[in-house]
Amino acid sequence: MKSYLYKVWAIFSKDVRTELRTKEILSAMAVFSLLMVLVFIFALPGKLQEPQDVVPGLLWIAFTFAGVLGLNRSFIIEKDRGSLEGLLLAPVDRSAIFLAKMLGNFAFITIVELLTLPLFSLLFNYSVFNLGLLPVLLMGTLGFAEIGTIFAAMAVNTRAREVLLPVLFFPVMLPVIIAAAQATSAVLANRPFGEISGQLQLIGIFDLVFLIVPLLLFELVIEE
């Protein structure tokens, strides 16, 4: 168990180190989400007066789209540089590769989300800083990372890989997006925490199920 976790850590830290040197995924996602916020503001100028109606939904739209961008890169980078074969040849269980990649994606998307939140608050002039938002954000992002990582690994070996990931990813993610947007709007309206327990439960079940299922399926998806 300890050596398994060490292997996961090794692949994860490799991803983080690569990212810190190239800043390819993070910069693309951050710039993209900034542009998304601007597009929302230009597209919905009337809504600046009542941001509480639109901000929860827009937040999750921005997270989903920016997330897909980063998820796509996570395997395409490996494939294009030929390092995916190297990774598969490494003497580790395939599920360790999934776990490490998933944690890497989770970390990158979370960082971008935390950067996007102040932008939203600033430009929509509506504070989204609320401690209750943190569990919703983290659990929702975990779901994104889990499903996104296995679908990115699936899409990378197909013809239309950049286009295919969002097509696969959005419909399957809809339960998390619905629940997370509902929970976010309840939290931002300062409603009691008990009101969102149902949504959090659903996201929690989603996270748990889709942590286990892709771990088992990953060897099927990635085999050469």
């Binding site: 659903l202 299922v213 399926l217």
Partner: protein
């Protein structure tokens, strides 16, 4: 495997086993007019008048759609455990059938809703779930068509089938919080509130059997089509091998 038996085909081998296609064809020839007749002579609903009769197609189509995705899921699990081509054939056949039947279900439901609820569309949890399910499996078909290598095609389809099937109940639970939109759902959960009585139940069961036969017929034919494609490919390669 077809590739091993050089010129032998796996389909249409006489005397190999019972051929279900003619049996199913005759059964359908009998059952389809019978269910149409039953639909016409069954009592008319008090509130919904004639439009209620579309239910005799709507409900069986939706049940067959769920059944297809269940077969796809089972095929996915079986392929994952065995890596045999036959399970890949089962998966692709049931995936296509499921999309077909869910499309029928959505279209018939939508036509009915126009008369019953005065709108083609409402974001009722069941409708939303079925729609999302259709989109999920359509993207699964896209995934399959975007893959070239046959064994990768099969394994990606299998993985997607398992994930998609597990996702459906989660979609259903999440739609509980879905805002109902402008139009109220008059009948509560659709279907349940409309009581079926006496001959209506007989009609419904007859239509269910007909749709089940149709599903089985399509599934067997689709599987055979895929096997024939394998045979053609095997013959093609065998011939090419002789020329060299």
């Amino acid at each position: 495997m077809a590739t091993n038996t050089k010129y032998m085909t796996t389909t249409n081998v006489p005397g190999k086993k019972l051929d279900w296609i003619p049996i199913l064809s005759y059964a359908l020839l009998f059952m389809f007019p019978l269910s149409l007749l039953f639909v016409l002579i069954s009592p008319t609903d008090v509130n919904l008048a004639f439009s209620q009769r579309i239910f005799y197609f709507h409900l069986p189509a939706n049940i067959m759609c769920f059944l297809s995705f269940l077969v796809y899921f089972i095929g996915g699990i079986a392929y994952w455990r065995t890596r045999q081509r036959k399970w890949d054939i089962v998966m692709v056949s049931s995936l296509e059938l499921g999309v077909f039947f869910s499309f029928i279900g959505i279209v018939t439901g939508s036509i009915w809703a126009r008369y019953a609820w005065n709108t083609f569309w409402t974001w009722d949890p069941r409708l939303t779930t079925v729609t999302i399910m259709l989109v999920v499996y359509l993207s699964g078909l896209m995934l399959r068509n975007a893959t070239d290598d046959p064994s990768r095609k099969a394994s990606l389809t299998a993985a997607f089938g398992v994930i998609g099937f597990i996702d459906v109940p989660l979609v259903y639970f999440s739609t509980r919080w879905f805002p109902r939109g402008l139009h109220p759902v008059i009948f509560g959960d659709n279907g349940n509130a409309i009581g079926l009585e006496g001959f209506m139940i007989v009609t419904m069961l007859t239509c269910m059997v007909t749709m089940g036969l149709l599903f089985t017929y399509f599934l067997i034919q689709r599987i055979r089509l895929e096997q024939m494609r394998d045979d053609v490919a095997a013959l093609f390669y065998a011939q090419e091998g002789e020329e060299y």
